[in-house]
Amino acid sequence: MATVDVKEQAQKPQNSMSWLGGATGPLIGLILLCLFLAFASDKFLSVRNGLNILDQITVIGIMAVGMTYVILIGGIDLSVGSVLALSMMIMGWVANVAGYPMAVAIPLALLASAVCGLIVGILVTRFKVPAFIATLAMMSAARGVANMITDGQQIVGFPEWFMMLAIDRHFGILTATVFLMLVVLLVSWLFLQFRAEGRMLYAIGGNPEVARLAGINVQLVTIGVYMFCAVLAGLAGIVLAARLDSVQPSSGFGYELDTIAAVVIGGTSLSGGAGGIGGTLIGVLIIGVLRNGLNLLNVSPFLQQVIIGVVIVLAVGAETLRRKTR
């Protein structure tokens, strides 16, 4: 027994970082990045700028949570940017054109997003359409519907309180939208880490046949995951609408790639079964901090795109190397 105890204690230090889902490498990268920017720009290291970064990452942060779930089961979702736009447009139309209260518009927008996810999930499980294709199709279709609602026009002007969700800092710190993102992250992390249903995602991503033979309803879980991802994309759309105080059908263009990049930088494996929300939070922060810092340093937006590309390769390459050598 004595020897067993020694071994378990020896394991402890490793386990204290386990909430990151093995993303210690990205965390070190984030810290180095912050250190560099703190020296390079005198504006970077301030509470105000920190809160700014949090405001800037809310949309992608919320979407990345859903994407993490999808990628964990070995899937991919290219439709999140379009679903975001669809959700925004439905909310805008119902509230502003049809004249219903926001309390009706927002649930309807989320419901429409859920339907998008349901369709993708059914295509992937029942009709065995590869996730890449099913979500590529949804990316096109949802964008089209978003455009059809107002024939491509934007809708402006929402209630005062709605706009304030993204502006008003409660207790001088958090806006409602940032708070929402943090809640989404925390709840999703708890669910993934400790709920039976959360562990199912790892089993399915690790090996769907093992999961099926272990009595897990792989199809149902897969549909659920795509619906979850789509609903979060819709929620991100509502957050974006609050931030912009307007909705337009071209919103969220290319967001799917930013989202996937954040998840992958955070150490979640594209082949599924490994990673988690802790890593994704770090991935989102890396992208947010990098954008913010490069802006502070007056780096041109085009060069920023190049730098982000390089960071993706560095982060994923370093992580792959680290796993191999271990």
Partner: protein
């Protein structure tokens, strides 16, 4: 006597303080088949890796055809004529046979791949192996045995003078094994040296000229004569004398637990099969590869669909739409392919144990402490040599299999189906699995064991169902059954 093709002198391989191969010397002569025997972890794969250039020895020298030989990469070894054929086949299913044979070394003409020559030369190697299929055919859809032969053809096209075969028959049935042996004999007659790694004693006795036994990295024995009794060989492998391989069989109870009536699988792999299993009974299912054994038990476990017929449990008709349905009724399966169906190899042992029991964590919250205590309990109960936080891929085959079994047995199942429970598992660890099977029966579980290993089916079962080409060829009581009577039924 002729010169050896390959000589090893004092080969040692260390990983840190751990010596996995210790001071091994051996020779391989042209035109002989040398068996390399040993339990998992005895150092067989490390040694064959050293010979094939994928690992470098820490100490020792090798000579190849009289010249010093120290390959730094597999490519170097292949260029010299040493080819290792892995247990897991490494063919590209969507490419043609010819392309697989010449992959990476396409014959070129005017800067382009010379397809005509490639196909012709591949065909030549195929006919050398008595394989009469066009070299232009896709690999996908070929039987495992033929794919095995294509791996060998690939080696021959490289002008191999030493072949290392790692468990070549692991996925083959009786007739296919015999066909492979015929080709091995032919190659031997052509002067190719062969190192043959296998766990199957009957095969080793049949095909090899000499047996080298490794234990804990050391060469402990060499049997120059393959007529040495199996027991003697096995004892030298495990380093202790074997009392008996199989535990005593329990007497089945009266109560019939599982009844299968006129069952036909949706994919047509088996037709009109009927049998029953009593509580505490072990039913063996024998037959050649492709006889429908795996499909039959997968159907019983809810993994495959039924076309017609019925499955009854305790008299009640079951309608199984998924493995989850079967599990809920107490029917669990230890599947055929451990690494693809049994465990998620890249995940931890405790995670793997939990995956099959996610519904049993009371309110659905799985805290680390609950997970650990559940895993520790299962690990201890089944003697898995490992800790919960280790990756499943770190375990030996035998211990992985114990994890697969352990994840079910904590559920108190009524019917346990084991498909090839000891495939790729060394002799010492097999006894542990047999004990688990016997204990299940003793506790009143109805057990079904599918195995290609005749000795195993005969050793563990109370009755044996023999399938041949999807038909029920016969049902033998233990008393009437022997390897001859089973094979007769299986091959009609």
């Amino acid at each position: 006597m002729t010169e050896p093709v390959l000589s090893l002198r004092g080969i040692t391989k260390r990983y840190g303080p751990l010596e996995v191969v210790k001071n091994v010397s051996m020779d391989v002569y042209p035109g002989e088949v040398v068996a390399l025997l040993g339990e998992n972890g005895a150092g067989k794969s490390t040694l064959s890796g050293i010979i094939a250039g994928s690992k470098t020895p820490s100490e020792g020298k090798m000579t190849w055809l009289g010249q010093p030989y120290a390959p730094a990469t597999p490519r170097e070894a292949i260029d010299k004529g040493v080819v290792l054929i892995h247990q897991e086949l490494q063919l590209l299913p969507e490419l043609s046979i010819a392309e697989n044979v010449f992959i990476g070394r396409w014959p070129m003409k005017n800067g382009r791949v010379d397809r005509a020559q490639m196909v012709a030369r591949a065909q030549e190697q195929l006919s050398r192996l008595n394989l009469h299929i066009p070299a232009t055919r896709k690999v996908a859809g070929l039987s495992t045995a033929n794919q095995q032969l294509i791996e060998i053809a690939k080696a021959l096209a490289l002008d191999a003078r030493l072949l290392i075969l790692d468990e070549p028959t692991a996925a083959l049935g009786g007739a296919e094994t015999e066909a492979l042996f015929e080709q091995i004999r032919k190659l031997r007659a052509e002067g190719v040296g062969i190192i043959y790694i296998s766990h199957r004693m009957e095969e080793i006795k049949k095909i090899t000229d000499r047996i080298v036994v490794l234990r804990d990295g050391e060469r402990v024995h060499e049997f120059a004569d393959s007529s040495t009794p199996v027991r003697t060989i096995v004892e030298s492998m495990v380093g202790r004398s074997l009392e008996r391989m199989f535990p005593a069989r329990a007497v089945p109870q009266e109560k019939t637990v599982l009844e299968v009536k006129n069952l036909t699988g949706a994919n047509g792999a088996f037709n009109d099969v009927s049998f029953s299993v009593k509580a505490g009974e072990i039913l063996g299912i024998a037959g050649l590869v492709g006889a429908g054994r795996t499909e039959l038990v997968r159907t019983i476990a809810g993994a495959d669909a039924i076309r017609s017929g019925e499955i009854r449990m305790n008299g009640e008709k079951l309608s199984l739409k998924s493995p989850a349905d079967a599990i809920a009724r107490g029917i669990v399966m230890v599947p055929e392919d451990r690494k693809l169906q049994g465990v998620v190899v890249g995940h931890k042992i405790d995670e793997n144990l939990v995956y099959a029991n996610l519904d049993r964590f009371g309110n659905g919250w799985i805290t680390p402490s609950k997970k650990r205590s559940f895993a520790d309990m299962a690990i201890r109960a089944f003697g898995v040599k490992g800790r919960g936080e280790q990756l499943a891929s770190d375990l030996s085959g035998g211990n992985q299999q114990k994890v697969v079994i352990a994840k079910w047995l904590t559920r108190d199942p009524k019917v346990v189906v084991l498909d090839e429970p000891t495939r790729g598992i060394d002799v010492g660890a097999r006894a542990g699995i047999y004990d688990i099977i016997a204990n299940l029966a003793k506790e009143g579980v109805a057990v079904i064991v599918v195995s290609s290993d005749l000795e195993e089916v005969l050793g563990v079962s109370n009755r044996i169902l023999v399938l041949a080409q999807g038909r029920q060829a016969g049902m033998l009581d233990r008393e009437q059954a022997n390897d001859v009577s089973v094979m007769e039924l299986a091959t009609i």
